[in-house]
């Protein structure tokens, strides 16, 4: 007897509801709107069996290309062999949420636009690019209550 490969095989935990979060789904899931081009995360909700994504797409992020009555069409790129294939899946609203990866970018764009405006009015030069964490500056470390400890290896001793 081998390992069976049913549609939902291996999803015992992935599709199960969280502890003490069974039953009615919070209604904000139904109140959110999705437009074509939105970036969405796919997370299957075991409480709603219709319009569920296949287990492969659980945890994937894609772009909405179609909106219908209670579902959205999402484009996902799947690695098959040595290439990416564009996959189009139809998923119900309950298994989708807006991805926050986009949120940070959109916020930064708005902020940069505002800073640029401001700097233009004042006539200053503005630095808009993000900088990675730079090496720390030179500084003095006090030894008040902070005496340096010398570390040395201990000679090996056999314990039985």
């Amino acid at each position: 007897m081998g390992h069976s490969h049913g549609y939902r095989s291996g999803t015992r935990y992935a599709f199960s509801r969280d502890f003490k979060k069974h039953g009615v789904i919070p209604l904000t899931t139904y109140l959110k709107t999705y437009k074509v081009g939105d970036i969405v995360d796919i997370k299957a909700n075991g409480a709603v069996q219709k319009g569920m994504p296949h287990k492969f797409y659980h945890g994937k992020t894609g772009i909405v290309y179609n909106v219908t009555k209670s579902s959205v069409g999402v484009i996902i790129y799947k690695v098959v062999g040595n290439r990416y294939l564009e996959k189009r899946i139809n998923v119900r609203i309950e298994h989708i949420k807006h991805s926050k990866c986009r949120e940070e970018f959109v916020k930064r764009v708005k902020e940069n636009a505002a800073r640029k405006q401001e700097a233009k009015e004042k006539g200053e030069k503005v630095f808009l690019k993000r900088q990675p964490a730079l090496p720390r500056d030179a500084h003095v470390v006090a030894t008040e209550g902070n005496a340096p400890v010398t570390l040395a290896p201990l000679a090996y001793e056999t314990y039985i």
């Binding site: 003490k20 789904i25 109140l31 709107t33 009555k69 579902s71």
Partner: protein, 310 residues
Amino acid sequence: MPFTKLIKTPAYFSRYQTPYRRRREGKTDYYARKRLITQHKAKYNSPKYRLVVRFTNKDIVAQIVSSQVTGDIVLAAAYAHELPRYGIKHGLTNWSAAYAVGLLVARRTLQKLGLDETYEGVVEADGEFSLTEAVEDGPRPFKAYLDVGLHRTTTGARIFGVLKGASDGGIYIPHNEKRYPGYDIESKELDADTLSKYILGGHVAEYMETLADDDEEKYRQVFKGYIEDNIEADAIADIYTDAHAAIREDPSPQPTEKKSKEEYAAESKKYRQTKLTMEERLAKRAAKIASLVGTGAAAEEEEEEEEDEE
């Protein structure tokens, strides 16, 4: 005692999932709410309105509500306690009052949206079943769905009074005639006369006459308000027709007078619990001890006297 097993252990409580607050309070049916709120995703942000009807012991609440993520927003509301303004002073939770409240909330929303000229609805309440139809080359009617909450939908229920009033007021509420009073299950027909009788308080008038003939005392007890205002059974229909006309004339809401912030603060300060100071608490303690010692001494004296007497 029969053998009992302790069920509510700490383990039980740590695993227990409490239902949503409004379910615990028994006020919201989430199965129905989900279906009433969800909008067609391809309709994006256009709001979905529902006509919320709730009955309390002495009042009727009718609201046109739409749902957003931050909370529900009420577009317009009407209460039965507003009906005295239009001439209905008694029987504020009966079928006819429900019709009037539905009519009031409908005219109010249409006035607010500027649709009241285009959609007059049914001006003379005749008890026929009709749905508000779209006007040619003009805006489509305002659509709302009936939200009964947890109320049982039996034939002749007052919620459908509100539904009929709002529908006759000009709002499009998809429904059918099955639950109106006057609907016969066997012949599957609506008797328009019975329905118009209910709209104009005919059922109340009939009961008034029957009681006046049969049981004078009960009549005086039940219809005390009507007797005081000298309202006869045959005058009731006119009260309601006049009220409907008055509602159509001026449905605009009149906000009630609210007290100022200072007045409210002063009111709540009356009920605030002030803590005693240390001195006051010690004084209270000393007084209590003194009174106990006093009675103890008196009791001791009494006992001594009794002993002496014996």
